[in-house]
């Protein structure tokens, strides 16, 4: 367990930003923290990164209660991110790395490694303000991971990134994860990360509304939608109990009352003599699950 959050509460004045949230992040996993803007994701992350402290509840990082040196094990790229514009790239990275507890020599070594990797060795003396936006984003990412954190927290990581950098950073995140770094993605753009995550938590109005393994959740929230692809035109004279929710040229999507009916559906197609090229169950997206879940909980 890299991170364990237990019954954490955070209020600002009368406003309850985080309302008794508990969750755990497995070592080496890619964890998605999903929810609309203002749901409390950033408030939660700020507590994990020790920027703020919970009003009540406890957070454990790698088995130990958060303490003053915990931030050195965390790499955090906030949604509101930036760099000292007038500072030189090299000096800035040295400074930020030393603040994360690295010695100057070690920081230098790590910077050299990343500069080599991104092929930007001649950037050391450039001022940040003289770099393009895309270049600044690379530096920002290096600053986040320079100290080899155990846990990498990325808040809305892809907003403002151009497609090339998005892919570059996705690749780097993948490599870091393969090397054992646990990763938390926080975003309101759920579709952006659901393919990358193995576990997620859905947060709405400060509450943990859904939490678990991605596949398990999708199974739980499936709506018995089945899509049948056919070689020719699909049949039109189907019984009413198979409600068509979407008709395409060579495919129909059905909503079944019961998943046990899926075999009946397939059987019907076979009886009609239609050649079926594909038969699949449509699982919901997290956007849909979120909307459904919020409707269920009445919040």
């Amino acid at each position: 367990m890299i991170l364990s959050i237990q019954d954490v509460v955070k209020t600002y004045g009368d406003y309850m930003a985080v309302n008794h949230v508990s969750l755990e992040v497995q070592k080496g996993s890619v964890f998605g923290m999903l929810g609309p803007n203002g749901a409390g994701k950033t408030s939660l992350i700020r507590m994990i990164t020790t920027i703020t402290a919970p009003d009540s509840g406890t957070i454990y990082l790698d088995g130990a209660k958060l303490h003053s040196r915990s931030p050195e094990q965390i790499g955090y790229m906030p949604e509101e991110r930036g760099l000292y514009k007038k500072m030189k790239v090299g000096e800035q990275l040295l400074y930020l790395a030393q603040l994360k507890g690295l010695t100057k020599a070690k920081a230098q070594q790590e910077i050299d490694m990343w500069f080599e990797k991104f092929d930007i060795k001649d950037w050391w003396n450039k001022k940040v303000e003289d770099l393009s936006k895309g270049m600044q984003q690379k530096i920002q990412f290096i600053a986040t991971v320079l100290h080899n954190p155990k846990l990498l927290i990325l808040d809305e990581p892809f907003t403002g990134l151009d497609p090339i950098n998005t892919n570059l950073i996705k690749d780097e995140i993948g490599q870091l994860n393969a090397a054992g770094t646990s990763i938390i993605f926080s975003t309101h753009r759920m579709e952006q990360v659901e393919e990358m995550c193995d576990h997620i938590v859905l947060i709405n109005k400060g509450k943990n509304v859904l939490y678990g393994e991605v596949q398990a959740i999708k199974n739980e929230y499936k709506q018995n939608l089945y899509r049948v692809e056919t070689a020719g035109e699909p049949p039109t004279d189907l019984p009413d109990r198979f409600a068509v929710v979407k008709a395409e040229k060579n495919a129909l999507t059905f909503k079944l009352d019961d998943e046990a009916q899926s075999n009946d559906l397939l059987k019907l197609f076979l009886q009609k003599g239609t050649r079926v090229t594909r038969f699949e169950e449509i699982l919901p997206t997290f956007n849909e699950i979120f909307i459904q879940r919020v409707a269920e909980t009445g919040d």
Binding site: T11, Y12, G13, R46, T49, T50, I51, T52, A53, P54, D55, S68, P71, E72, I74, Y76, M77, P78, E80, R81, G82, L83, Y84, K85, K86, M87, Y95, L96, Q98, L99, K100, Q140, A143, T144
Partner: protein, 441 residues
């Protein structure tokens, strides 16, 4: 290196390396140099060309008149006013001065007339009035058969020499005590006011910059907000001290070198004011200089400098932490935020006004005693009073309060800062900031 010292180092180095800092630090003494040269130039400036003035002395009171600087007096001879006026029109003369007879000796005011279409420069007008008045005085004394030497005996210069009553204060004070005290206290007050205001606002600007740059949350994930704020305050404070030390050294060098190079005595700068009067007795002047020096050396300099540093640190921490808190709440919108800076700038300016308006009149007035103890004013007001030996208990109380307040304000600012610095897109009021201080961690 600890995180705090890393932050202080960065804050210090980035500022000290800035071109604006280097230029400002070097330019201020150069500015002083230019100022001194201008003053020297002005004081030796002879005014415009000499004018020729005919004197029509109707009562034979003032002739002959020796020439003034820039004015040549020409006796009218037997020419009439009309003839003289024509000469003015023909540009042979610049003007005609007509001195009518005195009505009677009791009359104090006497009007003389100047005929010309050109305006008489105020400086020359003053010179002429003074010269004619002196001549009329001599004429009156002569007419009344008064002995000038004996009349001089009537004049006395009176000055109060304050004497203490308790034995230990004996001969502790002289008539120069107050003047020297005002000068020493005034300089300290002035320096403190500007340093606290300037560097306090520097801290505010830098806090706002970090917030606007959006680097602050990145920083927060590495260091505690309090460390970041303190690093900034201490770093900027050190920059301030560096600048002041540089100014003192450079200004000292400038004011030492310039007179040497120009072969010019600084005392001469006062020349325009004393011009035209009888020269000051050099013996007396030396005596005054000696007494002022003695008075200066009698000041308790270790105490003054020591307390200057404590009050600077106290005042700087109080105000710069207020400015840091305000900067953290303001962020990008400087327009709306200006109102927030008032609570920090008003007490500072008020303290400065109290000292400059009331302090020199009576450094021990109730207002000054209050101001020198009230911690928002005392960093400005107490150093002024220190030159006047205030009761020790007031100094002790003031010091205690200023140190306690500095700690309190740094703590309070830290509470506001940690919330404000992460708050975006919200118009912040003072009430809101006050609420933040009660938020948990």
């Amino acid at each position: 290196m600890s995180k705090l010292s890393l932050i202080i180092r960065r804050e210090y180095l980035t500022r000290v390396r800035k071109k604006s800092f280097i230029i400002g630090t070097l330019l201020a003494p150069v500015g002083l140099l230019v100022y001194m040269l201008v003053i020297i130039g002005l004081s030796s400036y002879q005014g415009s060309d000499e004018i020729k003035v005919a004197v029509l002395d109707e009562a034979k009171m003032v002739n002959p008149l020796p020439d003034e600087k820039g004015v040549r007096f020409i006796p009218s001879g037997n020419k009439t006013l009309e003839a003289l006026k024509t000469e003015v029109t023909e540009k042979k003369l610049d003007g005609v001065l007509r001195i009518p007879p005195l009505g009677n000796f009791q009359q104090k005011d006497h009007t003389i007339f100047y005929y010309s279409d050109e305006k008489l420069a105020p400086e020359k007008s003053g010179q002429i009035e003074k010269r004619i008045a002196a001549k009329i005085k001599a004429f009156k004394m002569d007419s009344l058969k008064l002995d000038a030497e004996r009349l001089k005996l009537l004049e006395s210069d009176v000055s109060i020499d304050p004497e203490g009553i308790k034995s230990d204060q004996e001969d502790d004070q002289s008539k120069y005590t107050a003047g020297v005290g005002i000068a020493v206290g005034g300089i300290m007050t002035f320096l403190l006011f500007f340093m606290v205001l300037m560097y306090g606002q520097m801290v505010m600007k830098s806090v706002m910059e970090e917030k606007t740059n959006r680097i602050v949350e990145v920083m927060m994930s590495s260091v505690r907000p309090f460390d970041l704020m303190m690093g900034k305050i201490i770093g900027a404070g050190l920059v301030g001290l560096t600048q002041v030390v540089a100014w003192v050294v450079l200004s000292g060098a400038v004011s030492f070198i310039v007179p040497l190079v120009m072969g010019f005595d600084a005392g001469q700068m006062q020349a325009p004011m004393t011009q035209g009067d009888a020269t000051i007795d050099p013996e007396l002047m030396q005596d005054t200089g000696m007494r002022i020096m003695a008075e200066l050396s009698r000041q308790n300099w270790p105490l003054l400098i020591g307390s200057f540093i404590i009050y600077f640190l106290g005042g700087y921490f109080i105000y710069s932490s207020m400015f840091a808190a305000i900067g953290s709440a303001m962020g990008d919108d400087t327009g709306e935020g200006q109102a927030l800076t008032l609570p920090a700038t008003i007490p500072l300016i008020l303290a400065f006004y109290i000292v400059s308006m009331a302090g020199w009149r009576n450094p021990d007035s109730n207002l000054m005693v209050f101001s020198s103890i009230f911690p928002l004013f005392s960093p400005i007001a107490m150093p002024f009073r220190l030159a006047f030996n205030p009761p020790w208990w007031q100094v002790a109380l003031s010091l205690t309060l200023v140190i306690a307040s500095a700690i309190f304000f740094v703590w309070l600012a830290g509470r506001i800062y940690r919330v404000g610095i992460l708050m975006y897109g919200k118009k912040v009021t003072l009430k809101e900031m006050w609420k933040w201080t009660f938020y948990n961690g």
